[in-house]
């Protein structure tokens, strides 16, 4: 599914996406942050591993998405449209860990780049979203 990128480091993408997820556990994003722009997390997750999407780029993640589901709307069978934020964050972590397994495709990288743009510094271990006591304070340029 898709062409693996020859220039993007999938390990680095894995770190970034996992870090965004970890960060979002500490300061949960309000999907209306930046005027609703973070709703995009749903679009990202849907394209990567939503069990209802037959064209998902990583369909083996569907099982984990199912297990994370808490939404009664679809009888707990995962409905990206209605899942609460903490479930989306869990799924983002699942995707982040999975990215390390195989090379990221160019289209996946494009979606991840856009997510990182919307989440500002969340992918770094900086203080802004980590609160005062948790997370690394290492400054990454």
């Amino acid at each position: 599914m898709g062409t693996p990128s020859t220039s993007k480091s999938w390990w680095q993408y894995s770190r970034w996406i996992t870090n965004i997820a970890r960060n979002c556990k500490i300061t949960e994003p309000i999907v209306n942050t930046f005027g609703g722009d973070l709703w995009y997390i749903r679009v990202f997750l849907w394209a990567i591993g939503d069990p209802n999407n037959p064209n998902a780029t990583r369909p083996w993640l569907a099982d984990k998405f199912y297990r994370a589901s808490v939404c009664q709307h679809a009888d707990y069978s995962f409905d990206i449209y209605h899942e609460p934020t903490h479930v989306l964050v869990k799924c983002l972590e699942v995707v982040g860990r999975d990215l390390k397994k195989i090379p990221i495709t160019t289209s996946e990288a494009m979606g991840a780049d856009f997510l990182m743009m919307l989440t500002n510094n969340r992918r770094y271990g900086t203080k802004l979203f980590y609160g005062s006591s948790s997370g690394s304070t290492v400054t990454i340029p």
């Binding site: 609703g36 849907w46 064209n55 679809a74 289209s107 919307l118």
Partner: protein
């Protein structure tokens, strides 16, 4: 959602973005990105 086609699901997601108040830029980028994801070839 499971009984909806891919096209319907995409439309629903883009509608959701719009309703959540996402900026025009984000809506367009999401739409454009979803189009870049390769679809399986029809048999």
């Amino acid at each position: 959602m499971a009984d909806k086609s891919v096209k319907q699901q995409v439309a629903r997601l883009l509608k959701g973005l719009k309703e959540a108040g996402a900026s025009r830029e984000v809506q367009d980028a999401a739409k454009k990105w979803l189009e870049t994801i390769p679809q399986p070839k029809k048999k």
